[in-house]
Symmetry: C2
Subunit: 150 residues, 2 copies
DNA sequence: GTAGGTGCAAAAACTTTGCATTTAC
DNA sequence: GTAAATGCAAAGTTTTTGCACCTAC
């Protein structure tokens, strides 16, 4: 993680009364250098390669703090909570066969229309949305095709 | 639950090698007569009013079987899995303050456009989507307004 | 009659928490 | 220096499972 990123992370955490510890920095680095959208346990196992004594409790606590500070994002595709080092607005698609998650970028105008429609339907004040897709990734599609022609 | 519904449930379950037990029928009735989008434990407590000896394990197993048979739907807004007796295509909005879930109906054309956009972005074969919103329900909006003017 | 389902209780899976000690600022 | 954070372990919450007995078909 470069100097600028460290400073920015420190700033964002400090604004909420938190600190950038080496554990949190390691978690950030692990998440930002991967695109697997992992769960807490995966992060824990990766961080332990760098900080062997980190605890699972710290990973859970740090993921929450980092997410509240807007430094990472969380998603709930599937049964357990997963995390994403990429906080820019984007959507996900989950492979129903292998569990892999890929990124998708929908046009902001379409998302805006979505929220407007929802707002006019419900009496709610909308603060956010979640748009996810399910399907078969190219590899699993191949596999299922191969199996059906056996 | 009327005769027709029972027959339909029986048919759907039978097609997958399952049976319509009195426990499953009670679970279906509880879900269909409510719009709270409850979790397994709520269903358990409701069903126990009718069948006092039902077990939580049976509720979990039945909810899965009923969902796989298409007789109910599940949603993952929030930390635990919730269920919906209404299986017709619709979306949900979750109140971030009180946890209440309300139904929304987006135009099919908009959802279609969404899937088409996603399909053209990812290499996946899309089989489904999940569109959810977050916000404040009218009651909680009132409350937060009242608090901020205190 | 029999495959599928149930109740019960134990276990698994995931996440949170209390506390003495350490550390970032 | 001190408030925040950590490691460790224990506990909490939600969900799944093994098994002997039951029941829908």
């Amino acid at each position: 993680m470069d100097k600028r990123s460290v400073a920015e992370a420190k700033r964002r955490l400090a604004s909420r009364g938190h600190r950038l510890t080496k554990q949190r920095q390691a978690i950030l680095e692990v998440l930002r250098s991967s695109d697997v959208h992992p769960d807490a346990d995966w992060v824990y196992r990766e961080v332990r390669k760098v900080l062997p004594h980190v605890s699972l409790g710290t990973v859970y606590r740090s993921l929450e703090v980092l997410r509240d500070a807007g430094l990472i994002a969380s998603l709930e595709v599937g049964p357990r909570r997963r995390y994403d080092g990429n906080t820019s607005e984007h959507q996900h698609i989950l492979c129903i066969s292998c569990g892999r998650v890929a990124d998708i970028h929908l046009p902001p105008s379409l998302l805006e229309e979505l929220e407007q429609r929802a707002a006019s339907e419900a009496d709610f004040t909308i603060t956010g949305h979640r748009v996810e897709f399910y399907g078969l990734c190219p590899q699993c599609l191949q596999k299922s095709k191969a199996e059906s022609t056996e």
